[in-house]
């Protein structure tokens, strides 16, 4: 078996991923601190009060959250300009689903990861996972949620940001819904994020994938096991080039 490394991520992709991840975590930390209503406070603790006193008041926390949000959006726009091709490739891969193969993969993977292969064998199912492409269905599901969610969060965030800067009283209905959508969407994407971080950073099987988010390359062995359809495609492309 060869140890050839296969290119998986461009430098700008890697930068974008970590830039995005850092922005998200900071936005999450500051954003939760902005919720101070016992009915919706997700932690139900004194966290917002503590954070507010750390930064010198709720107003400062809001400014910080807004500045981070704008930085995040600008970062994304710059990335889209620099690596539009990469972004298009990403979106095409992420939204390309072959339902039968991918759904089966998803169900089997969830059982394997939590209960192991036995339940599948007991049901008379083959625990072998169907081959996957550049991204597996789990990655695609999370990526879709974060792309759609990211757009919703950015748009509702801008609406809220502009609320006391440009909008008149007639717009308050829309602003109220922006607040609600922002809250719900962040919650849903965060639920996915927990699994994403586990799979990417903690699960030992995905260690080469984790390293690739720094180096940009994965070993052929890993690519073959985890992203067979992509591996095959890259190999045949390579052969065409060398022929």
């Amino acid at each position: 078996m060869s140890d050839t490394m296969y290119k998986r991520h461009d430098g700008s992709d890697i930068f974008m991923h970590w830039f995005n991840a850092v922005c998200w975590l900071l936005l999450l930390l500051t954003g939760i601190g902005l919720i101070q209503n016992p009915v919706i406070d997700p932690l139900g603790s004194g966290y917002p009060a503590v954070l507010r006193s750390l930064v010198g008041g709720g107003g400062n926390l809001l400014l910080l959250h807004e500045a981070l949000g704008i930085l995040w959006i600008i970062g994304f726009l710059v990335y889209l300009i620099i690596n539009f091709k990469g972004a298009r490739f990403f979106l095409a891969e992420v939204f390309a689903i072959s339902p039968a193969r991918d759904m089966l993969w998803m169900v089997k993977k969830m059982v394997l990861m939590t209960l192991g292969p036995k339940p599948l064998k007991m049901l008379g199912m083959d625990p072998v996972l169907p081959d996957q492409g550049y991204y597996n269905m789990g990655q695609k599901a999370f990526a879709q949620a974060s792309v759609v969610g990211g757009v919703v969060i950015a748009v509702t965030g801008v609406v809220m940001f502009l609320s006391d800067r440009t909008f008149g009283a007639a717009a308050t209905g829309m602003i109220g819904w922006a607040v609600t959508l922002h809250f719900i969407t962040v919650g849903l994407v965060f639920a996915g994020l927990l699994v994403h971080i586990y799979m990417a950073a903690i699960s030992p099987e995905e260690r080469p994938g984790f390293k690739s988010m720094f180096t940009g390359v994965v070993p052929g062995e890993y690519a073959k096991h985890h992203h067979r359809l992509w591996f095959d495609k890259v190999q045949s492309d390579d052969q065409q080039v060398s022929e």
Binding site: Q36, N37, I40, S163, F167, T172, G176, F183, P204, H225
Partner: protein, 246 residues
């Protein structure tokens, strides 16, 4: 005991001069067509001829309620009940003017300030109080119909009036009970014009969604724990790899 800043109003002293409204507008730079306070009158009382009952004018403003429905409608705590003074405060640096609190006040005391684009209402003139002055409306009132102070302090004028008139103090009723801290001595004139506290649909949706969001995040967390548990107990799953190396 913590303070409860409040107003004790004698509606029978009010002559409807609107001095309090003007003084408030000037002191607080309230935009045109917007008001932080009001004087309500009985309709039709200025007709000539026989008139039933006494003429009453009712000065009012934000009542700094004990059970403020506006605070319940605010997602961020930008408006809150100050535990020390009993005031209902708006933190303008945190308010983004989403408008949730405005229909949530059954007395219509709140509005969205047209220039600041944030929630606005009576705040008992904190700048004036810091200088040792009374709120503008109280200071300007020629008949002293409005008395302001801490009703929990029996030595203050408001506290004295509050205790002395305990039996005959009334509040303006609203369809939603908010326990307002605006007290009228005797007959306040129109007494049940207060409406219903309306929480915008978007805020209701957010409150109802919150437990579901928590549930979904919780399930996801449990899933991660299950995977982590299996990773620690069973080691990494190698089953699917064997078959690949054919």
């Amino acid at each position: 005991m913590a303070q409860q800043l409040a107003m004790i109003i004698d509606a029978s002293k009010c002559i409807d001069c609107k001095g309090c409204m003007i003084a408030c507008k000037v002191a607080n730079n309230v935009p045109e067509d917007q008001w932080r306070n009001w004087i309500k009158g009985e309709s039709g009382m200025s007709r000539p001829g026989k008139h039933n009952g006494t003429t009453k004018f009712q000065p009012g403003a934000c009542m700094h309620c004990d059970k403020p429905t506006c605070v319940e409608a605010c997602p961020t705590g930008a408006t809150y009940k100050d535990e020390m003074t009993g005031e209902v405060v708006i933190d303008e640096s945190l308010c983004i003017g989403c408008g949730n609190c405005i229909p949530a006040c059954p007395y219509g005391a709140r509005f969205r300030n047209a220039t600041k684009r944030k929630a606005d209402k009576c705040n008992y003139c904190p700048e004036r109080r810091a200088q040792g002055l009374l709120p503008a409306c109280v200071d300007t009132c020629p008949t002293k119909a409005r008395v302001f102070g801490d009703i929990n302090d029996p030595d203050s004028e408001a506290g004295r009036l509050f205790l002395k008139n305990k039996e005959q103090l009334t509040r303006v009723a609203a369809r939603t009970e908010t326990k307002p801290n605006m007290f009228y001595i005797g007959d306040p004139g129109p007494r049940d014009w207060g409406g219903e506290a309306v929480t915008p649909a978007s805020m209701i949706a957010m409150k109802e969604a919150a437990p579901f969001i928590k549930g979904i995040v919780g399930l996801s967390g449990l899933g991660v724990l299950a995977m982590l548990g299996r990773q620690l107990i069973a080691g990494s799953d190698t089953d699917h790899k064997e078959n690949d190396d054919v």
